[in-house]
C-alpha cells in the first residue's frame, strides 16, 4: 500500500482555497519556488490574515503622525524637523528553540525595521514572559534570552532602556520575547520602502545568504529540489551584531548622502519578500538574478536562496549613476554588496537562476492579495467561573508580612539583574535609566525629551481582556507622564494563542477594542504593532498577552525630572488620584498571597485617565519624586521609594487593604512643601524619615529587610541556581 502524497501546499500550511487564489492570480499552477513564496507571505506571521480586519479598529490620524502602520516602523513628528521612529516585534518561538540566539536575532530584526526608515536606532526595550523560575528549564530559557538580548544589543551598540517581565506557568513552554526599538532622525533622512524608477538597481547589502530559515522549508526539500537538504538546514539562526553594526553605519551614510531611492530589510521569506514588497509598494516590478547573490554556501538551490532568512541583510534601490558610490560605501564599512536586480515597469517580480526562470508573479500580489479571515469568536467559558472567585482580602492583614512576600516575587523585586546586563547608557542620552517607571532620553542639541514605557498585564487581561488591555495603555501613559513626558504615540504587540480557537479570537477582539478605546481617550495614535498568534503548546493557549510600548514626548524636558532616589528626611508623601475601589482581581495580593486568580478588574474612566495623566505631567516639572502605583499597590510603590532612596517613611490613615489595592490611575508624589499644586484629588498620607516603612496600625517593615528581600528576589533565584547551561554563544 502506498500512502497518497500530501499536496505541497498542504504541507506548507495552505488551504485548498488559498491555493486556488494563487492559481487564479497566475493563471496557471505555481512553480515550486512561487508556491513557497506565497506560503510564507500568506502565512499568519506575514499577512496578518486573521487579525487585519480587527486591526483596522486602531486609529492613527493625528496630525503629528508622519508614517502610520504599514511601513517598517511608525514615525511621529517631534517638531523642528525631528522625528521619532518606533516599532515592536516578537521573537517568541525562536527563543523557545534556542533562547540566546532566538532573543538575539529578535533584537537584530527590530533594529533593521528602524534604520530602514532612515533613523538611527537609539534605544531598545524588552517585554518578557517566562515560566516560573523555580523550574530549572525556565531559568535556563530566561537566562539565555536575557544574555542574548545583552549580547546582541550591547555589541551592536544600541542601549536597552527597559522592558517588563512576568512569570507564569502558561509561559513555560511558550515564552514571549518582544522587543521594541526607537529611532531618531531628521525629516530629510526619512526613507520609505517603495521602489521607483524603471531601470534602477536593487543592491543586496550585508551578510552572505546561507541556509538559514524555516519558512517554505518543506517544499524546498521536496523532490524537485535536492533530497536530503533538510539535514543541512539549521533550525537556529545565529545573530551577528558586528555585521549589523556595520550595516547600520553604512545605511546611515547612504541616507546622509542621498544615495538610495528606497530600502527594505530582509525578514521572513528573505529575498522573495523584500524584492516583492519594495517593488509592489511602488507599483513597480523587478527582475532578479539569483546568481548575483553572495552566498555563504556554494551549493544552494534557487528556492533556498529566495527563501533564506539569513540575518543582517538589506535591499537598497539605487539609481544606476549611484551604484558605484553605494558599492564604495559598502566597501568602506567592510560589508558585502551585490547588485541582484533591476526595477521594471512591472507588475511582475521575475526571478532567474542560471538563466532559468524560477518565479514570475505580480509583485504586489504576495503582499496585497493575501486572504483575510474573520474568524469566529466566542466568549470563553472560564470567565464566569473566574469572576465568581472573588479575591478574599482580610481587613486586619499585616502589611509588613504581606510586603515581605510580595517583595520576594521576581516580577516585583529588583529587576536590575536584567538591566545591569544591558548597556543602558550609550549615546549619553539616558536621563532616567531603567529602574524607574518610564525611561527618559534627551535629544541632544534640543530641549526635547522622549520617554518610553512598555507594559502588559497578562493575568488581569485574562480576567477581562477589554478592561485589562485598556489599563495597560493607561499604565504606560502614566509611567511616561511621571517623567514629564505626555503620551504621544503607541505601538502594540498582540501575543495570543491559537486564533482558530473561538475563545482566543474573542480575547483578541476584546483586547483590541480595549486598547483602541484607551488610545482614543488619550488621543494617542497607534502607529504600529505586531501580532503573534499560535502561542499554544500541548493544546494550552498562553494567557492573552498584549504588550504596549508608549512613547511620551516633552519639550522642554523638565530640568530635574522626578527620580525614585530623591526622597529625603521630612519630605511629605502624597497620594494622587481617586480613592481605591477595591480592585484585587489579578492583584499581586490575590495571586501571590491567596494563590488565586479570580474576580473582575474594575473599569476605568477615560476622562479620569486624561486628567490624572495630565496632572502627573504638570507635577513632573516641579516635584522631586513621582511614582505610579501598579503591581502590589500603594505598599509596593512606597517600599520601592524607601529602598531606592534609602530612607524610611511613616504612613498614616491608610488601611492594610487599601495598601495592596491595585485601583489604577493613581500615583505617589513626594515633596518638600506641605501643599501639592494639582486639581486632581490628592491627600497627604505620610512623611519621609527613619529607617522603617511604618504603616501605623497596618504594620511595619524595616527598610533594611525590605531592601534585602527586594534585591534578592530575582537575582537570588538566578544566582548559582541556574544550572542547566552556562555555555555562551559568541558575544560581548
Amino acid at each position: 500500500m502506498t500512502t497518497p502524497r500530501v499536496p505541497d501546499h498542504i504541507r506548507l500550511g495552505m488551504t485548498d482555497d488559498e491555493y486556488q487564489i494563487i492559481v487564479e492570480i497566475l493563471g496557471r499552477e505555481p512553480l515550486d519556488a512561487e508556491l513557497a513564496m506565497y506560503s510564507v507571505m500568506w502565512s499568519e506571521h506575514c499577512s496578518y490574515k486573521s487579525s487585519r480586519t480587527h486591526l483596522a479598529r486602531f486609529t492613527s490620524d493625528q496630525p503629528w503622525v508622519v508614517v502610520g502602520p504599514g511601513e517598517n516602523a511608525g514615525v511621529v513628528d517631534l517638531g523642528d524637523g525631528w522625528l521619532a521612529a518606533l516599532r515592536i516585534e516578537s521573537h517568541n518561538h525562536p527563543t523557545y528553540v534556542e533562547p540566546y540566539q532566538g532573543a538575539a536575532t529578535g533584537v537584530g530584526g527590530i533594529l533593521r525595521d528602524i534604520f530602514t526608515m532612515g533613523a538611527r536606532p537609539v534605544a531598545l526595550w524588552d517585554p518578557l514572559r517566562f515560566g516560573p523560575l523555580d523550574e530549572p528549564h525556565n531559568r535556563y530559557l530566561f537566562e539565555g534570552a536575557v544574555s542574548g538580548i545583552a549580547g546582541y544589543g550591547n555589541a551592536v551598540g544600541v542601549p536597552t532602556l527597559g522592558g517588563e517581565v512576568e512569570f507564569a506557568d502558561r509561559f513555560s513552554k511558550n515564552p514571549l520575547v518582544n522587543v521594541m526599538a526607537l529611532g531618531i532622525l531628521k525629516r530629510e533622512q526619512l526613507v520609505l520602502s517603495a521602489a521607483s524608477g524603471e531601470g534602477n538597481l536593487a543592491i543586496l547589502l550585508g551578510n552572505a545568504t546561507g541556509r538559514d530559515g524555516i519558512g517554505g522549508a518543506s517544499i524546498l526539500a521536496s523532490a524537485s529540489f535536492e533530497e536530503g537538504d533538510e539535514e543541512k538546514r539549521p533550525s537556529v539562526q545565529v545573530g551577528d551584531p558586528f555585521e549589523e553594526k556595520k550595516l547600520i553605519e553604512a545605511c546611515l551614510e547612504l541616507y546622509d548622502r542621498g544615495l538610495v531611492v528606497a530600502i527594505q530589510d530582509l525578514g521572513a521569506a528573505g529575498i522573495s519578500c523584500a524584492t516583492s514588497e519594495i517593488a509592489g509598494n511602488g507599483g513597480m516590478g523587478m527582475e532578479v538574478d539569483l546568481d548575483k547573490v553572495h552566498l555563504r554556501e556554494g551549493d544552494m538551490t534557487p528556492g533556498e536562496i529566495l527563501m533564506s532568512e539569513s540575518q543582517e541583510r538589506m535591499l537598497a534601490v539605487v539609481t544606476p549613476e549611484n551604484e558605484a558610490d553605494v558599492l564604495a560605501v559598502a566597501r568602506k564599512w567592510e560589508i558585502d554588496a551585490s547588485t541582484i536586480g533591476v526595477i521594471t515597469r512591472g507588475p511582475d517580480l521575475v526571478v532567474y537562476s542560471k538563466g532559468e526562470l524560477v518565479c514570475e508573479v505580480p509583485a504586489a500580489s504576495l503582499a496585497d492579495d493575501a486572504p483575510r479571515y474573520d474568524r469566529p469568536s466566542q466568549r470563553p467559558g472560564y470567565l464566569d467561573e473566574a469572576w465568581a472567585e472573588e479575591p478574599q482580602i482580610p481587613i486586619g492583614l499585616d502589611a509588613g508580612d504581606v510586603l515581605r512576600t510580595l517583595l520576594d516575587d521576581p516580577a516585583i523585586g529588583d529587576r536590575s539583574w536584567i538591566f545591569r546586563q544591558y548597556d543602558h547608557m550609550l549615546f549619553l542620552n539616558t536621563v532616567i535609566a531603567p529602574g524607574h517607571d518610564g525611561s527618559l532620553l534627551r535629544i541632544k542639541g534640543t530641549k526635547k525629551g522622549v520617554a518610553v514605557s512598555t507594559d502588559g498585564d497578562s493575568l488581569r487581561i485574562y480576567l477581562d481582556p477589554r478592561r485589562g488591555s485598556a489599563r495597560i495603555v493607561f499604565e504606560s501613559a502614566l509611567n511616561v507622564a511621571v517623567t514629564g513626558a505626555a503620551p504621544y504615540a503607541l505601538v502594540d504587540n498582540l501575543n495570543f494563542g491559537n486564533p482558530e480557537v473561538p475563545g482566543v479570537m474573542w480575547q483578541f477582539i476584546e483586547s483590541v477594542e480595549g486598547l483602541a478605546w484607551a488610545c482614543e481617550e488619550l488621543d494617542v495614535p497607534v502607529v504600529g504593532g505586531n501580532v503573534s498568534f499560535y502561542n499554544q503548546t500541548d493544546g494550552v493557549d498562553i494567557y492573552p498577552s498584549p504588550v504596549v510600548g508608549m512613547l511620551g514626548f516633552c519639550d522642554p524636558m523638565p530640568e530635574h525630572p522626578p527620580r525614585l532616589d530623591r526622597a529625603r528626611e521630612d519630605m511629605t508623601v502624597w497620594l494622587v488620584g481617586e480613592d481605591a475601589r477595591h480592585d484585587f482581581a489579578a492583584s499581586a495580593y490575590d495571586r501571590i498571597i491567596n494563590n488565586n486568580l479570580g474576580g473582575r478588574p474594575v473599569d476605568v474612566d477615560g476622562g479620569e485617565a486624561r486628567r490624572v495623566i495630565a496632572a502627573a505631567v504638570m507635577l513632573a516639572y516641579e516635584t522631586p519624586l513621582l511614582h505610579d502605583i501598579s503591581i502590589g499597590g500603594l505598599a509596593v510603590a512606597l517600599a520601592e521609594i524607601s529602598i531606592i532612596s534609602g530612607v524610611g517613611m511613616t504612613i498614616e490613615g491608610v488601611s492594610g487593604r487599601e495598601l495592596f489595592d491595585e485601583t489604577p490611575l493613581r500615583f505617589i508624589a513626594v515633596t518638600h512643601a506641605d501643599r501639592l499644586d494639582t486639581d486632581e484629588p490628592h491627600r497627604r498620607i505620610g512623611t519621609i524619615g527613619g529607617n522603617t516603612l511604618d504603616f501605623g496600625e497596618a504594620g511595619v517593615l524595616s527598610v533594611a529587610e525590605a531592601t534585602d528581600i527586594w534585591r534578592n528576589a530575582l537575582s537570588g533565584r538566578m544566582a548559582g541556581r541556574s544550572t542547566e547551561s552556562t555555555q555562551r554563544s559568541p558575544d560581548a
Partner: protein, 82 residues
C-alpha cells in the same frame, strides 16, 4: 581514581559562524592569503573522581547532555586524556 577528559564542542554544520568568518577575513588581511576555511569550537577539560574509566565517561556524557553542550546548535566528542 581521578580521570580526565577533554570535551570538544563544535557548531553544527550549516550554522553561520560569525567569529570564524571575521577571523578568516582578519587572517586574509594579515597576508595569509591561502586560508580557505576557519571555524571556531570550544573545549572543556574535566577531571573527576570515579570508580572506573567507564563510570567516569558515563558521567561526562551526562554532563555534556545536561550542561556542557547545547544540543540545538552543537555536537560534542569526548576523549580521555592521560
Amino acid at each position: 581514581m581521578t580521570y580526565s577528559f577533554v570535551v570538544s564542542i563544535a557548531r553544527k554544520p550549516g550554522l553561520s559562524d560569525p567569529e570564524g568568518t571575521t577571523t578568516h577575513k582578519a587572517l586574509n588581511d594579515l597576508g595569509f592569503a591561502g586560508v580557505t576555511h576557519v571555524a571556531f569550537g570550544r573545549t572543556i577539560s574535566v577531571s573527576l573522581d570515579a570508580v572506573s574509566l567507564d563510570a567516569a565517561r558515563t558521567q561526562v556524557e551526562a554532563m555534556c547532555e545536561k550542561l556542557l553542550a547545547n544540543p540545538v546548535m552543537e555536537t560534542y566528542a569526548i576523549e580521555a586524556t592521560p
